[in-house]
C-alpha cells in the first residue's frame, strides 16, 4: 500500500514537472491565461512599488501595463510579482513570470548565458554614489577606504569593484539582499556610501527620514541601459513586448498623448494613421488587434507622460529627462518607424 502511494506521488510529481517544462509558446500561454505575469521590483519608488493604497505604480509597472494593453486591449490585465535582484532572471527562465520589467541592465553575458532577450531600453541609467552630506565628500575619487552598501546580484556589485580597482582605492562592501533593509542600514550609518543606479538612489533618498541630508555624487561610473526582458523561444512575443515600449516613445515623437489620442484618430497624417491603426497593417503583422497602439496610449500614455508621472521633476524623485529625453531633445529615446 505504502509503495503504491509513494509511486503515485512520485509519478504525479514527474507529470507536474513535465507539464511545467513543456509550457507552450509564451504568447499562447499568456493569451489563454488571460493576463500577463510581470516581474517587477517591488521596493523602488518610481519604478515598481505599490502605493499607499496598494496599487502598483512606477515606470516599469506602466511598461508592463502597456504590454497588457497591446495584447488584451486592457491595461489592467496584468499581475505583478515583486522580485529581488537575485530572483529575477531565474523567475523568468523558469516561467514563473512572462516578462521582466524590473530595472534590469542589458548586458552581453545576460543576453547570451541566461537565455534572455532584452528589448528596447525604457530607461537609460548609470550607477552613482549617495553619501551623507555630513562627511563633506564632493567627489567619488575621495572615497578611498569607504564602507559601501551595495545590493547583491546586480551589475552594481561588479561596477563598484571595477571602479575602486581602476582608481586604486580600497573599500569594504556591505552586501544585503533586501533593498529596504539595505537602505535602513545605510541611513543608520553602517556604510559611508550607498551605490546603485542613480534613479534608484533618488528613489531611496526620497523615502529617507531626512532627504536633504544626503547628496548624490556627480560621478556616474557605468552605463545601465534598463530594459524589459523575455525568455528565448517566442519571437512574436518578444516583438510585441519590444514594440509596446517603442509605441510609447513613438507616440511622444508624434505628439500623441492619452488626452489627445481620440482626436488624433481623425488625423490626416498617414504616419499617425498607420500608428493608431486607422490605416491597418501594423496590428496584423504583430498578431494583435489594429487598435493595440491606440490602447497603449489611451490607457497608459506616451513615454513622456509615463516618465513625468512616475519619476519626473514634479514628483518626489525629481529626475530630469536627461538621457531619457527624445533624440530630438538631445536624449537617447528613438523609435524605429511604425510601418
Amino acid at each position: 500500500m505504502k509503495i503504491t502511494k509513494t509511486l503515485v506521488l512520485v509519478l504525479s510529481l514527474c507529470l507536474m514537472l513535465v507539464s511545467f517544462a513543456h509550457a507552450g509558446k509564451d504568447l499562447d500561454a499568456v493569451k489563454s491565461k488571460g493576463f500577463i505575469q510581470a516581474g517587477v521590483n517591488g521596493s523602488v519608488f518610481g519604478f515598481g512599488m505599490p502605493d499607499e493604497k496598494g496599487n502598483w505604480a512606477g515606470l516599469d509597472v506602466d511598461t508592463a501595463r502597456a504590454i497588457a494593453a497591446a495584447i488584451f486591449g486592457d491595461a489592467s490585465k496584468v499581475k505583478f510579482t515583486p522580485l529581488s535582484a537575485q530572483q529575477r532572471f531565474t523567475a523568468l527562465q523558469s516561467g514563473e513570470i512572462d516578462v521582466l520589467t524590473r530595472n534590469a541592465t542589458q548586458t552581453l553575458s545576460r543576453e547570451t548565458q541566461l537565455g534572455l532577450n532584452f528589448v528596447s531600453v525604457n530607461y537609460y541609467d548609470g550607477q552613482g554614489f549617495m553619501i551623507s552630506k555630513k562627511l563633506g565628500v564632493k567627489s567619488a575619487t575621495e572615497l578611498d577606504g569607504a564602507t559601501v552598501c551595495v545590493l547583491p546580484g546586480t551589475t552594481t556589485e561588479q561596477n563598484a569593484a571595477d571602479y575602486f580597482r581602476t582608481n586604486k582605492m580600497s573599500w569594504k562592501p556591505v552586501v544585503i539582499e533586501s533593498t529596504a533593509e539595505l537602505a535602513k542600514t545605510f541611513f543608520a550609518g553602517r556604510c559611508d556610501v550607498l551605490t546603485s543606479d542613480a534613479s534608484q538612489l533618488a528613489g531611496t533618498r526620497a523615502i529617507a527620514a531626512n532627504p536633504k541630508g544626503y547628496a548624490i555624487l556627480p560621478e556616474i561610473i557605468s552605463k545601465e541601459p534598463l530594459a524589459p526582458a523575455v525568455r528565448h523561444g517566442d519571437d512574436q512575443f518578444r516583438d510585441i513586448v519590444d514594440f509596446s515600449v517603442l509605441a510609447m516613445i513613438n507616440a511622444e515623437e508624434l505628439g500623441i498623448t492619452s488626452k489627445n489620442v481620440d482626436m488624433m484618430l481623425k488625423s490626416k497624417n498617414p504616419v499617425i494613421q498607420r500608428f493608431l491603426g486607422t490605416s491597418p497593417g501594423n496590428g496584423k503583422s504583430l498578431g494583435l488587434d489594429e487598435k493595440w497602439a491606440y490602447n497603449i496610449i489611451k490607457q497608459v500614455g506616451n513615454y513622456g507622460e509615463v516618465f513625468e508621472r512616475n519619476v519626473g521633476v514634479n514628483t518626489t524623485l525629481g529626475i530630469e529627462r536627461g538621457l531619457n529625453a527624445l533624440w530630438t531633445n538631445g536624449g537617447l529615446m528613438y523609435s524605429p518607424p511604425f510601418k
Binding site: 537575485q86 548565458q113 569607504a146 564602507t147 556589485e157 552586501v175 544585503i176 535602513k184
Partner: protein, 398 residues
Amino acid sequence: MEQKQNPIPINTAETAVPFWRDAGKRALLFQIVALFVVGGISYYLFSNTQANLARQSIATGFGFWEKEASFEIGESLIRYSAADSYARALLVGALNTLKVAFIGIILTTILGSFVGVARLSSNWLVSKVAGSFIEVMQNIPVLLQLFFWYAIFYESFPSPRQALNPIKGVFFCNRGFIFAIPESHSAHVAMGGMFLVVLIGGWFLNRWGYKRQELTGKAFPAGRITTALALFLPLLVWAFYGAPTAMNVPELRGFNFQGGLTISPEFSALLLGLVLYTSAFVAEIVRAGIQSINRGQIEAAKAIALRPGQVLRLVIMPQALRVIIPPLTSQMLNLTKNSSLAVAIGYADFVAVANTTINQTGQAIEGVAMIMVVYLFFSLSTSVFMNWYNKRMALVER
C-alpha cells in the same frame, strides 16, 4: 533484503511455488522494478533539464570557476581581491561559513551547558533567570533575532569618528569592534608552537598519571601542571625572542580605522543571534541529560567522599553525555544550517557568495548544487565527529 527460508524443502516441480507467491523472489522483483523506476526518473529529469537549458541557450558546467569574480567581499580569512577567480571567492565564502559555525558551536556548547546547569540550580533566582532565557530565546524565530541584533549594532553604536574608546587601542563603533593586536613577529609563531607542544605533552602526562593512579592509587595533578606549563613556557619563549611589545594599533584614517583587528557588526550579530538561539535548545538538552541520572548515583558518589567537582566530572557527566550527545549533534547541525540566514544581514557566508556567483554567471543549477554539497559536507563532517565521540562515550557493556 533478506531471503526468507521456505520452511518446507521443495524438491519437485509439482510442489514448486510460482515466483509471485514466493515472498523472497517477489521482494527481489519489487526492488529491481523500484531501481529501474528511480533510475529512469533520474535520467529523465537530468536529460530534460539538459535539453531545456540547451534550448534556452543557458550556459552549463563549472567552467566559470576559473573566471575572474570581479566582485569584492566584505570580510575574508584569506587574501582575496576582486581580481581573483570565482573558485577563490567561493572558498572565501565557505571559510566564512566555517568560521561562524565553528566559533558558534563552541560558544553554544559552553553557554548552553551553563544555562542548563543553572536551570537546575537550587537558587530560585538563578533557576528562574535561566528558565526565562530559554523560553524567550527558543520561541523567537532566529531570523528576527538576527535582524534585532544587527539593528542594535548599527543603530546604537556611533560612527567611526565618534567611536567609543573605553581603553587605549579598543574602539566600538558601527563599523565593528576594533582591537589593537601585537605586531606580527616571529616570536608569536614560536609561542604558538610551544603552546601546542605543551598541549600534546599534557595529554601524554594525563595518560601516564591516570595509569599510575590505577596502579598505585596515587593521584597526579596532570591538569594543573599542564595549565601552568601552557601559561609559563610560551612566555619564556617570548622573553627569549627579546620580548617584542610592538602593537598594531588601529587608527582613524579617512572613513575608517586602519590596522588592528576588526570584528564586523555582521559577524557579531550573526554569531550572537545563532549562539543565543541555539544555546537555549542546548540548555534544555543538558538539563534533560543531567535529570536522566538516578539520584542514587549522586548520593553514592558523595558517600564515597568524592568532591562536588568530581561527582560532576566522574559520575554525572559520563552518563549524562550519553543522553546529551545525539540531540546536541542535531543542534550543532541546525546552527551550521541556520548560518545561511547571514544573507539577510550582509555577512559574506557561502550562500551570499554563491548567490552573487549565480547572478553574475547565470548558472543557478550549478550554484545551488554547490551550496547543497558544501552544507552537506559541513554537516556530515560534524556528524562523523560527533558519532565518533558518541561511540567513545556510549555505555560499554561487558
